[in-house]
């Protein structure tokens, strides 16, 4: 997942009568569950919204390397270190697929990266929270990837073909991530008192930020309606959040940890768990750049990009020289 608060580039859902023939044909395809492909006609607003959504998702995968990378060099066993490296490598790979999917909409990866660095594009709020102890790594896999999967499973049915196909591939890897996260946190929760304390601390800190990953409550989510009509959003924020809570609470109980919210209770009538809303003012603050790690995350990414400029320039210069030598040899041979 990792796309939240994506501003839909439209003034609201148009009625059939207000649509041009092209728009009506486009909407009919979507309603019939026919995928939209890069060369198909599409409304400009659909294209722009998707670039925002897929771009934000790609940036999240890339920035998401940082909180987990924070523990690679301190992983406690060779096996845990290898699992974590493999996971972070997968995330970078997801970033690549998603940038490629966005590129089919006519924007380059470099342009998107520049927009991220200039603060014009966002990444998921969750990655602005720190990873403070080893149990956080288990909790990130279990809760953060777990939340992401709930959204991404739905997005496998999204209307834009390249995005949908990227999601299908990504979901397979994400479910491995969530399982390894839960297995890591099980070791902690069932381990020594210190390990259990780390696990509890991780769950307490990451619970509400994980709930925020689904975006604001439906009543405050102004962008959903058009995106749902276009099937680039499949379920509402609140539906997805409830699904996550229902799935995760029994897992917390199984670990023997305290619930991170005293208001979590099974509601027989609704057939769902009740729970407290996250503190939305905190969420909006994080989006504005005031999360615990926003400044450091961007400093790391911009720094990596700037420090790497000479490498990219060097390799490009070499590729040009090589081509020129090849061309010269060809001419000489003729």
């Amino acid at each position: 997942m990792y796309a939240q608060m994506v501003k839909t580039a439209s003034d609201g859902v148009k009625s059939r009568e207000d649509m041009s023939p092209e728009e009506a044909a486009f909407q009919a395809k979507i309603d019939a569950d026919i995928k939209i492909e890069p060369r198909d006609w599409m409304p400009e607003d659909y294209r722009r919204t998707l670039i925002r959504q897929i771009g934000q998702h790609a940036h999240s995968e890339v920035v998401g390397q940082l909180p987990e990378g924070n523990w690679i060099t301190r992983a406690p066993t060779l096996e845990r270190k290898m699992i974590l490296l493999a996971k972070v490598q997968d995330e970078a790979g997801h970033g690549l697929y998603l940038y490629s999917a966005a590129e089919t909409l006519g924007v380059s990866r470099d342009e998107m990266v520049e927009m991220l660095h200039a603060g014009k594009m966002k990444y998921s709020s969750i990655f602005n929270y720190p990873t403070l102890n080893w149990a956080d790594i288990g909790a990130v896999g279990w809760l953060v990837d777990g939340a992401a999967i709930i959204n991404q499973v739905a997005l496998q049915r999204t209307s834009y073909g390249p995005y949908s196909r990227a999601m299908i591939r990504i979901c397979k890897e994400e479910s491995f991530h969530a399982r390894q996260g839960y297995s890591a946190i099980m070791k902690m929760a069932f381990g020594t008192p210190e390990q259990k304390r780390m696990a509890q601390h991780a769950v307490n800190r990451l619970w509400f930020p994980a709930l925020m990953m689904f975006g604001p409550s439906d009543k405050d989510s102004v962008h959903s309606e058009q995106s749902m009509a276009w099937k680039i959003k499949i379920k509402t924020n609140d539906e997805l959040r409830q699904q996550f809570v229902d799935q995760t609470v029994p897992q917390i109980l199984y670990l023997g940890l305290e619930l991170p919210d005293p208001n979590i209770k099974w509601n027989e009538e609704r057939g769902h768990y009740d729970f407290s809303d996250p503190d939305w003012s905190e969420f909006f603050n994080v989006l504005k750049g005031n999360g615990p790690c926003n400044t450091d995350r961007m400093k790391d990414r911009v720094g990596a990009w700037e420090d790497g400029e000479w490498v990219r320039d060097g390799l490009m210069a070499h590729a040009r020289k090589k081509q020129a030598r090849k061309d010269a040899a060809k001419i000489a041979a003729e």
Partner: protein
Amino acid sequence: MADVDNKALFEFLVRMGDNTLILGHRVSEWCGHSPILEEDIALANTALDLLGQTKMWLDYAGKVQGEGKSADDLAFLRDAWDLRNVLLVELPNGDFGQTLMRQFLFDAYHSIILGHLLKSSDDEVRAIAQKASKEVAYHLERSADTVVGLGDGTPESHRRMQAALDYLWPYVGEMFETDDIDRAMASAGVAPEPSGLRADYDALVGRVLADATLTIPEGKFAHKGGRNGYMHTEHLGHLLCEMQWLQRAYPGCEW
């Protein structure tokens, strides 16, 4: 297989395993900070291969040692003087050029020695070499290509790669030092004497660095003290502080 002194075999195995352990750790430090996304993936992949090899070498070392130690015990509970990696791999990453030059200088040695270990008289050594040599062939291809690309790139990339080579070259010689342990391994047919690998190394490295338009420093001096544990660099202790912290702070846990 001829009679092998287990102490010497253990030393040989931890030399192999500590090289990959420490280099894998260094490479993993790049996570999320490389010049381009494809390089983040490639660096993570290299680190992952090296750690997988570490596990195989140190598992076997633990068995040979016969004190019931696992690969994790050896990786996370030995102090610097017991580590047997060459100094080259514990040197800091520096810029991306220095990291890739260090990788290339090690990959070239690593691919040559693994080629010989495919014919080892020791079944387990041979099996590890079979798996590792495929991975390392790819590491070498990638690091050599990058060294050539950056050496023969822009004036700035050339200058940085030459500086990296000048800094790292005095650490190359240690990989080819031969001592009693190496002689014991060679006479048992387990592993070649490192000094005998130098000619192939010079030919391989000379070819790539010439393509990279880089000049091999003239000095013959070689820093040493890593593979016998006599004198590591100051850098290793800091690396171990980070790598071993959880195991040291919370001993006896399962993770």
